[in-house]
Subunit: 455 residues, 3 copies
Amino acid sequence: MTKIKRLLIFTGVFLGFVLLIPTSALAQENSTRTPAVEQQTLESLSTKIADVQSNADYIWTLVAAFMVFFMQAGFAMVEAGLTRAKNTVNILMKNLMDFSVGSIVYWAFGFGIMFGVNQTGWFGTDGFFFSDFAKDNDQWLFAFWMFQVVFAATAATIVSGAMAERTKFISYLIYSAVISIVIYPIFGSWAWGSLFHGGGWLEKLGFIDFAGSTVVHSIGGWAALAGAIVLGPRLGKYTKDGKPKAIPGHNLTLAALGVFILWFGWYGFNSGSTTVANKDIALIAVTTTLAAAAGSISSMIAAWYIFKKPEATMTFNGALAGLVAITAGCANVSPVSAVIIGTLAGILVVLSVLFFERTAKIDDPVGAISVHGVCGAFGTLMAGVFDKNGFSFATVGVQALGVGTAFVWSFGMAYLLFKVLQKTVGLRVTPEEELEGLDIGEHGLECYPEFEKVS
Amino acid sequence: MTKIKRLLIFTGVFLGFVLLIPTSALAQENSTRTPAVEQQTLESLSTKIADVQSNADYIWTLVAAFMVFFMQAGFAMVEAGLTRAKNTVNILMKNLMDFSVGSIVYWAFGFGIMFGVNQTGWFGTDGFFFSDFAKDNDQWLFAFWMFQVVFAATAATIVSGAMAERTKFISYLIYSAVISIVIYPIFGSWAWGSLFHGGGWLEKLGFIDFAGSTVVHSIGGWAALAGAIVLGPRLGKYTKDGKPKAIPGHNLTLAALGVFILWFGWYGFNSGSTTVANKDIALIAVTTTLAAAAGSISSMIAAWYIFKKPEATMTFNGALAGLVAITAGCANVSPVSAVIIGTLAGILVVLSVLFFERTAKIDDPVGAISVHGVCGAFGTLMAGVFDKNGFSFATVGVQALGVGTAFVWSFGMAYLLFKVLQKTVGLRVTPEEELEGLDIGEHGLECYPEFEKVS
Amino acid sequence: MTKIKRLLIFTGVFLGFVLLIPTSALAQENSTRTPAVEQQTLESLSTKIADVQSNADYIWTLVAAFMVFFMQAGFAMVEAGLTRAKNTVNILMKNLMDFSVGSIVYWAFGFGIMFGVNQTGWFGTDGFFFSDFAKDNDQWLFAFWMFQVVFAATAATIVSGAMAERTKFISYLIYSAVISIVIYPIFGSWAWGSLFHGGGWLEKLGFIDFAGSTVVHSIGGWAALAGAIVLGPRLGKYTKDGKPKAIPGHNLTLAALGVFILWFGWYGFNSGSTTVANKDIALIAVTTTLAAAAGSISSMIAAWYIFKKPEATMTFNGALAGLVAITAGCANVSPVSAVIIGTLAGILVVLSVLFFERTAKIDDPVGAISVHGVCGAFGTLMAGVFDKNGFSFATVGVQALGVGTAFVWSFGMAYLLFKVLQKTVGLRVTPEEELEGLDIGEHGLECYPEFEKVS
């Protein structure tokens, strides 16, 4: 027994030296060591590492959110640039207000509907005004909300361009609130809602939409389609025999600036959708770049072929089409696939713009329906087709289901909304106001009062 | 004994396997293990963790600083957009030069005055040209300076808008240097100076101004007030019987772009003011968003009520008013409080703009005094009123003291400065130059030479 | 034996308590512990720390890359603003397409040529389309490519300004591909190629060009010089007796906005060139700021002295000159040296612009040759002269060698390329198209169709 005692003493001293003294040094205290201290040291190191990673997640998610916020400036510039000077202040006000109204109501209602406890299976029912589930995990909730609110605002602002130059401002404000409270968050809860509680039926089926080709862009694009249909075309857009007439935008420099801003912000949109600072963000940035570049080139070539000149507005929309189309699959397709997706989206957007303008005779001043609706749907399908995990009809089928559901839900709800607005407060300004311009009529001032206009 | 020997050998091998081999693997060397190595391993892990966190602090603080730098573009666009085309080059040059002059003199003098060793209790006296205290902690000092210089430049550039369209360029350059060497850093040392050495008297009292509603915005705003008073109104701003006449800005698209850029940069301004990558930045981003959104909406509604139309420039200033007002309390008020603060600031800025234009007859072309001075003071008070730690008259009293001190110091010093400039180099251009525009008079070229002006 | 058994059991329990239970707690599982777990814990902590640092490197490198991408908007605005309205759409298209074409071909060929295995010593021969060396280290490769592609695009886009207002669009597209496949990557492989495989001959000599004063800016600037020479001056730039006539830019607000965007993006360009989230980025941001500020001021003063007024476009170019010049040495010169470098660059750019316009009679509408070529060369020399490690003629000699090599390579190759284009597809539009404007001729639409032009 004494041998064993000595052995125990020896072992204890040895372990104490090996393990506990360094622990003491780390903890910078002098009390007698016990094994529990050692446990705490290892635990606390591990906790500290997790904490630093978590801090990195916060800064990544927030910087990305800020970049997505900045896309509002991009949308404002694209839309302002592609429409006429007499309606520019109205465009700018719509863009500023859909973010402002959208973020207040998304804080109040939308976020809870999208991410709250979802007992019915159809939408969340708590977390309004940051209540209730704010208890769970306060600080991350704030970071996550910040990233989500800029997405909600993106969906909202897409519609503004398609309804430009003829929509009553008050009706647009009401629409902004409804899409941010109802249309966007409910579909969002189906596809992305599980991030906090439960999970939506679409994501349970395996629906792939990493950063929102469908959830954000198609939802916005199909609401834009409904708006453009209910409103009807701008005065002078079609001749009596139904031929479309070009109504050129007033400032293509602004439009190009907007495209660059959107492309920049899109890196936050796509890469930031990890909401985690990890290594996946690099591939996402690469696929995003390649798809946008391919979309610019292919749309330019398509426009060159059709119009005999490399038309600029088509090229601008081609870059955006590539970006919209890669958004769903940016994290699960290869760089080569990204080039293919972008190339096809760039051609598709040109054909789609021509289809809506010439065949369907739906007047969409900036091409929002084609860029966001059509290319969003296309990109979501392609995220299934080019899935790195291999092609399967089941996957593509689920993608198609998601795409179809988004169309039915967003187009249907928005159509209803705009019809109700039309019958109540009125959706469209008077023809007199439209001819004079909405800046004077709706806001009482001109955008460029000092410059002489071509009469 | 042999059993014990075998046991010892076994234990040694066992421990060697458990503890020392992995240590060897980590340290990537093969020398004989001693307990000290183990200690070093644990210590070095802890040091490494702190180092990674520190690296995250650097990237966060610098990215935020870059975003705040970009606010210079926002100020330039807002100010250019809200003034006349004939003075635009002058606005742009003023904005570029106040950052350029400001950052050179802030490096040379301002930073040392604000953050150097403060023996007198009134201002720092070392650290000029990065000397002296650069020894302490070189690299962080550079990161911290980078964040501070963009703040100093923000205070400086605010004044440019209020003094637009009539100030001599050379006088503006002198003013830029003085605010960046004297007015901003000395007040800054009172409220924020303790970050490196000692501490200012205001912060010792418990003054809350997290990101600078008072330190940056009010200091800039009250200097702007002094400048606008000393200069007097623009020619044609008031009729002979003192009625104000609207002088519309020449390009509201630029103004809106500027508002979006400022809002984007403000996330760096407020969230970045932690200068640490931690989880608090999320709440700050949320309160910043909600206050800005609420400010846009409430100012639009106020303008709608007063002018019968949702006037755009008031709405733009409302967003900025919400941002200025939340800046002091962004880290210590709740989201609900942020909505309230933003809402009130949006209304306040409309009333304040009308007060200065109609009642006080002080001509501030872009509303800088109201946005930055008045809403900065208001927001600083509200940071006390809505303090999460509970309301106390003592807290609000200290806030009021800080607000009042900022007014007396900045307005007083700037008034003196502008009077001295007026008597020496001259503060205002000649009436002929003012009518022709400062672009030709001061800079010898036009901003938009190809476009026909409304005569 | 029973004693030993008991001892073993006791030791096992003891070790279990000390080591394995906390490990269990960390791992959050309940299976029986073995000594290997402890090893794994220490190893895994160290691995986890390295992983978090690596994640920080990814977010830093990517955010910096996004900011550099945004510089494309800055170049577009500067170039559009400094040229005439009738050629603006063409400028915008060139800027969008050189990034788009450039990034596709840089993915396909350029990146492999610059960073692939370099057996000949002259250029890399693998890694095309992300093949081959993509196996090594996939994810970092994507992050690194993202940072490199925006640099390649910067080199490409510099040329656009010098060749503005007279170049055929199709030829510009071909040039874009060639610079991104051949001219930029081959020189890049000499100076920076070692990052993955082997190393270029210039970097082996100790050539200092931290962020690309030579590799990016001079390469672009000397190609711009070749283009401007081959093209010849714009119609009306010189009188019959060879006197230069000013052709003012159409929108200086855009130019100023572009300068601010470029300055903002430059922080990503220079600080991001660490491609590691570490503490060095702070000094880089500081030297970048001070050089740009000093460049603005000195160029303004130089212009004031020469033209008797603080001319705006010279001042804008002075800020860019300071930025270009500090790019090589931003990480290895002191803040004081940065001020000196920026100051000299600001003066140099004014003299250089006047030299090319008045003496050499080379028409460079935006000053790209002077800003990027001349100041890039100057800054690269200064990175040697002001090297923190002390002055040596050997260092400066190597800098001069790199500068000279860049000139011979880029100017020579670009001259050849433009001559070939001139003889084949044609480099310059017809005089009729040039007079009417390239927007109509090349792209079939106007940039500002609603505004009356000065006749």
